[in-house]
Amino acid sequence: MALPFPLSDLLVILPELILSELALGILLWAAVVKRERERALAWASLASLAIAAALLPVAASFAGELPRSAFGGMIALDGFSLFFKALTLLAAAVTILFSLRFVGTSPYPGGEYYALLLLTTVGMMFMASGTHLVSIYVALELMALSQYVLAGYFKQETKSVEAAAKYFVLGAFSSGVLLYGLSLVYGATGTLSLGGVSAALEAAPRSTLLMVGVVLVACGMLFKVASAPFHVWAPDVYEGAPTPVSAFFAVGPKLAAYAIFARIFFDGFGPRSDDWAPVLAASAALTMVVGNVGALMQTNVKRLLGYSSIGHAGYALLGLLAYRAGGAAGQPEAFGLWAILFYLTAYLLMTFGAFGLVVLLEAKGYATESVDDFNGLWKRNPLAAGAMVVFLLSLAGIPPTAGFVGKYLLFSAALKAGWPALVVLGVLMSAVSLFYYFRIVRAMYLVDGEGEVRWREEPAVAVAVGLCFAGTLAFGVLPQPLIALAKSCLLP
């Protein structure tokens, strides 16, 4: 029987294929493993991620000249997708390190947890390389469905289940809106491949139908990256989900969502950027304000970091707006795009670092981690307090950290692209963010008294936080290698 695609196409998705097999293998193994030996599953999951990461260059070399399109234009392998695949694998690995004790000491078996984490990673990897609206949609749902379950994994905790229910209802709703937008785009252009949509948009006259479709797709995407006014789910889900899962949600899915956001809107809807740029600009402005002002009022640390991540989604939108700054897409001058790649890497490091320290705090009850829990941390563990200060400085965008360089690149890209008002707003909101980040610093250094909360030494989390710490400082002092890498990984 003849295959509808050349067999070599399978090599393009080799890392994803192997990772899916390994995830299913872990799921099977989980059915027979004894509860006290579950830690082996976690190490096996880490090994699976490492194997998938090692296969990325193998797939790239088998694929021949990049960008390589496969499966009739459904999937593409290029520098852009490789960059995001590597980042999502890193995010999943850090999450597993965070989960070792958190899940191991919980009353819930860990097998399905790790398998779901790997499957959601597969979904994110496919999102990074999808070049057809259908493959992007299916990958998105693979990611999202695994995440709904992960959010509610601690199923006897009311907060966890509530987080899952909210995430599910709003997530499914936003998928419906996205699909409706896609159907309008399909109706107007008659194709669903991004290249085809782009070509049809060049030729087609302006039509209301098409504009509504593009705006609805934008709304669906804004939901996925938790931008205002579609952000309401994020703080609730981050608060209610198990802490390692919250950390993962704040980073992994957002990276993947930005990858498809960039691809759909540059590769697909690029010719109509006049239609969608105002929508994105309005959302970016609103997101920066809502995220940073909302965080001021929070006492729960996970909620605070949730609002802060909404603010960061707003900064990253500036980069999407500015993708054309200084040259055509794909040129090294496509400033906005490589600024986003740099910024998202920095965001991964500093957000995981901050969440890692929340994981290390032994909370009094499920999802009750408050700012007060950090009281007097400086005396109990000066090293951890110092690391937290660096992460918070980086989140606020103060040198010499990666967060500063990333924000600087984003803001200068937005200036070049002609959005000065948004840049001013962004700088103002960064100043606002100092207030709430400093509240944690104040709790650690200036408030007396041992918080009643115990501090837990845990090597796996410490290693992960140490990596994030090293990266945050290294890319802050020496950003050039990462910038060079990001420049070589632009959209074709």
Partner: protein
């Protein structure tokens, strides 16, 4: 699927606009249901209605353009909706066990 038959624009007895109108109305009913209903199951049913409305639109456009890819989308959407139903209903069962209610107004330990 015969390529020739698919590629020809087939004349329709029911005008295309009728399909589009029904699809859009169904979508809006679903949208209103999600926003107005307070029972999680009803909200979920409304979401399913939205997805089926989209299916109808994809089929109508596929017929209009004589292009098979719109029909292909529908199969994917149906499969995803089935998976979504499995996950969603499981979450609602867990929610009911924890709260003895699936009324979203009572889901308040996290600020909605």
């Amino acid at each position: 699927m015969e390529g020739a038959a698919m590629n020809a624009v087939v004349p329709m007895t029911v005008p295309l606009n009728a399909f589009l109108a029904v699809g859009t109305i169904l979508f809006v009913i679903g949208l209103a249901g999600v926003l107005l209903k307070r029972n999680a199951l009803s909200m979920f049913l409304s979401i399913e209605l939205m997805m089926n409305a989209v299916n109808l639109l994809f089929l109508a456009y596929a017929r209009m353009r004589g292009d098979a890819s719109g029909q292909m989308v529908v199969f994917f959407v149906i499969a995803v909706a089935a998976a979504e139903a499995a996950v969603g209903l499981a979450i609602f069962v867990a929610l009911f066990r924890a709260k003895r209610s699936i009324d979203v107004d009572e889901i308040a330990s996290l600020k909605w």
